[in-house]
Amino acid sequence: MAEEKLSAAQRSKIRRLSAPKELAPDEEGGELNIVPFLDIVMNVLMFVLATVSVTFTATIDTFPPRAGGGGRGASQQQNTLGLTVLVVPDGFSLKARGGNVAPGCESVGEGLAVPKKNNEYDFKTLAKCAKRLKGSSPDFEDETSVTISANKEIPYKAVVGVMDALRSDPETAPDAKEKKEMFPDVQFGLVK
């Protein structure tokens, strides 16, 4: 069937009606122009990422210091270890119910139980020594408190190092989910 031909008036009308409509500025796209907002968000994000150094903090719980050392209550009993660690510039001096722990951590006697190694505090040996003392009697198995004291000029980081060394068993398997606790309850001794 032959197609009917449009008249000139019809062609003109088709051209007019089929012309794309110019949208008013407020109708354009039908969406909010969020590009400037996106720019701001992007800049803020970059700034935050560049300036924030993510460091995670933890807290160690402790109690008010007591004059003269000694644990909280438990150390007053005879069948307790009553461990006291004194941090001095040359190393760690350990005192227990039996007396001062001698160098090497094997017996009772004078001297520093854990002297410095290569001019640095030997936290590993301190942890091993604390473990040996704790294991020396079944009565000490449940004892968890230790008194830490230090010379007046000893920096806080050394004291935190001692707390870390005494908190858990150093010989727990590396893949163990939880380390066996030794002395997590810390009491500070005052040095007048």
């Binding site: 995670f56 008010p64 920096p155 150093p170």
Partner: protein, 191 residues
């Protein structure tokens, strides 16, 4: 304008041609801009997450005057208690510096700030600031059903703070009915 003798096309033909022409001139649906809404959503979520983690995980401004010691602990930091900051320059309670710290603090703060001279452990101005907070905290604890007999403090001390200065602060806190301290440390030290 029709030429003489030319009959206009019928309505059906006219409409078909109009549709055809409209499609041709309008073309396919034109994309004027990229749809970035999904990306914007994602970025906003990341931004909110970062800002949130900033405020909860680490709100301690660390600088040369205040660098926390590192610890092997990986437990979450306690948020309960009055923050007491011991920097190289001073002792701050909350936002305010209450006592300056001398360059060599191995004997604690200056004797003038202590109750009974150089050998005393009680820092008077710190005690005054703490007792004021303690009164408020006591009322809050009573109202919230917590033990009102003691308060807690978060100790944020520089890693090189001498033990004597630390003891003075802890002793003063203890004398003002603060019975539990949370010593803030950085996670991630190697044992």
């Amino acid at each position: 304008m029709t030429t003489a003798g030319q009959k206009p096309a019928g309505t059906a033909t006219f409409k078909r041609m109009l549709r055809k022409e409209t499609l041709r001139r309008g073309g396919a649906h034109e994309v004027n801009f990229l749809n970035i809404t999904a990306m914007l959503d994602m970025m906003t979520i990341i931004l909110v997450f970062l800002l949130k983690s900033m405020t909860t995980s680490n709100n301690v401004p660390q600088s040369n005057d205040l660098k926390l010691p590192a610890s092997v602990l990986t437990t979450e930091a306690s948020q309960e208690g009055l923050p007491v900051l011991i920097t190289k320059k001073g002792i701050n309670v909350g936002e305010n510096e209450v006592v300056p710290v001398p360059p060599d603090a191995s004997n604690g703060v200056d004797a003038q700030y202590k109750k009974n001279g150089a050998n005393d452990l009680y820092i008077t101005r710190l005690g005054t600031a703490l007792s004021s907070f303690r009164e408020t905290d006591k009322a809050i604890r009573t109202a919230t059903g917590k033990d009102p007999n003691s308060s807690e403090a978060i100790i944020v001390a520089d890693e090189n703070t001498p033990y004597r200065l630390l003891c003075e602060v802890l002793y003063t806190l203890g004398q003002n009915e603060f019975a539990k301290f949370h010593l803030m440390v950085n996670q991630g030290a190697k044992q």
